[in-house]
Amino acid sequence: MSFFTVTAIAILVSVALALTRAILGPTSYDRILAVNAIGTKTVLLIAVVGFMNGRPDFLDLAIVYALMNFIGTLAVLKYFKFGSLRGGLSRFHGEEK
């Protein structure tokens, strides 16, 4: 068993634990936290599986996934905070309108 296999299994176990928190989570912020953690672990999993199959070109997909994960988390948080995706990120921006 190579280290890639062991790492992939550990990442999958960690994703399962985070998914349990996403299902159980009492508030929606717990769910956002779990989804953010799962996204970061997906980047790791894509990179490790790419190395495991001898195709490190998968790293391009990992870069795109890291970008999308960050933007997606911020967008969901902004929607929860202001109730809409329009306007700036600070509170006073929204009240000026």
């Binding site: 062991v6 634990l17 985070a18 349990t20 912020y29 970061t40 672990k41 980047v43 990179a47 990992a62």
Partner: protein
């Protein structure tokens, strides 16, 4: 000899990263409070990413793949604390209170059983 040394270094780096990943998962599941869960999820993720990608970079050598790995690690080092901070601030503005065991003004919380043991 060099191959063996690289393999041993990769094993050490990636197994430490795996340990941090599992600690993150267990912390997300077992901690009692949203703020402690944010701490567990945000803290170990960055270090686990750095360790595992360091192991992968040792395997790939001086190629374009290593440059891509460094890009991903640098990006995650900037964005993961930012997302964690934004999440904690949004949680605090939404009015969720941290669980404090008898240190707050309003006495022990009924959610926590450790405060009852202390009393």
């Amino acid at each position: 000899m060099m191959e063996l040394l690289l393999d041993i270094s990769t094993w050490i780096l990636m197994m430490t990263g795996c340990a941090f990943l599992l600690i993150t998962g267990v912390g997300l599941l077992r901690f009692p409070d949203i703020y402690t869960r944010i701490h567990a999820g945000g803290m170990a993720d960055t270090l686990a990413t750095f360790l595992i990608f360091g192991g992968l970079a040792l395997q790939s050598g001086f190629t374009l793949v290593t440059v891509k790995l460094v890009f991903i690690v640098a990006f995650i080092f900037i964005t993961s604390p930012t997302a964690t901070y934004a999440l904690a601030q949004a949680t605090f503005i939404a009015g969720l209170k941290p669980v404090v065991d008898g240190f707050g003004d309003d006495g022990p919380d009924e959610n926590s059983n450790t405060a009852k043991v202390k009393d």
